[in-house]
Symmetry: C2
Subunit: 211 residues, 2 copies
């Protein structure tokens, strides 16, 4: 059944947040040679209940078949369409320190729908250096670059200072999605979505299980 | 009301996973000068429904007061106790590349309950170098170090190859919690908890909202 994008408007962010996990688990099952996946198998891989998975996916139409489960290739295609990752989004990385360099060199983005096309820093010692095939650009040129290349996604890998100012500027030139590694609290500008990656949050989940 | 650790056994991982988010939001409200937080305020910060937050927290006893909400200092203390972060856990970082170096230099772990005490690599060019006050150790010495220092938590910041073998070895010498940055699927050894940090999962959540 084709997906009606119109009905998705009201879908809670928490459900949207689980779709990439389903996609990753399906990729794994596909690599392992499977053609169909049951909600139970997906649930076991992801530690999410089968009922929750069926409920989440049913928001997007009838994606599975009773008794057979989900056809993996089909569901991967549908999820990529829902998540807009049936194309490759150009991204910029801000900050050419350890983390930014690692992200610029990371080769795992492209087959998930993303590509780092430029990296920026404020430090004259870093500007002009090559990282992962990209030459570090001056952060003063960032807004022009974003506007000229219609970039929508930025990864923030800088220390806390000035991050808020930078985000406000980025929002003005067209960035609407930010993946933030900076350990800060951000006032999100209108029309911008921010995801935070915070290793301490994951560590605290792990330490719960430590005796 | 004191927390009875005995009643926590059955709490789903998905709830445990939200507790660090509550803790981070409470820290923010505290820094902003608040003494009490309602489930509605927490929910607004976290994009989680107030009802969900009240339901999650009620699993751990009566932590809030009707009409007043949660006393921030008290709830921070209780959550740290539940998550076992009322002490500082020693961690090792495996891999002294861009990401591992960044993690070894990161100063944000300590007041969240964690501390990087050693970093390991297999590359002779990296072994012996200083990163964030730590000298990179030979990965061949890792298992001895873990056993001698009773380390329970490891952060994996290495490429995909050999990761599975490494994890199996770590499990044998006492590591029970792994924060994994490697883009791989892992067969989790018995008694080990793994959390994955995968930027593509966050990016796909963001791209859903891109027109």
């Amino acid at each position: 059944m084709p997906i009606d994008k119109g009905i998705e408007k009201q879908i809670p962010r928490i459900i949207i947040g689980r779709l990439p996990l389903y996609l990753r688990a399906l990729d794994r099952l596909k690599k392992d040679g499977y053609h169909y996946a049951s909600s139970r198998e997906l649930g076991r891989l992801l530690d999410i209940s089968a009922a929750q998975i069926r409920k989440d996916l049913s928001r997007f139409g009838e994606l599975g078949k009773r008794g057979k489960g989900y056809e993996i290739d089909f569901l991967i295609k549908e999820l990529n369409q829902i998540l807009n990752t049936n194309k490759v989004w150009k991204m910029i990385v801000i900050g050419a320190g350890d983390l930014g360099s690692g992200l610029a060199r990371y080769r795992g983005f492209k087959d998930r729908g993303f590509e780092v096309v430029a990296i920026f820093d404020i430090d004259p010692q870093k500007i002009g250096r090559e990282i992962g095939g990209l030459v570090v650009k001056n952060i003063l040129d960032m807004c022009d670059y974003v506007a000229e290349n219609s970039i929508r996604i930025a990864i923030l890998a800088i220390p806390a200072e000035n991050a808020q100012k930078l985000i406000n500027e980025l929002a003005e030139v067209g960035i609407s999605s930010i993946l933030n590694y900076a350990p800060i609290y951000i006032k999100t500008p209108d029309g911008v979505q921010i995801e935070h990656i915070d290793p301490s949050v994951h560590l605290q989940k792990l330490s719960y299980y430590l005796k």
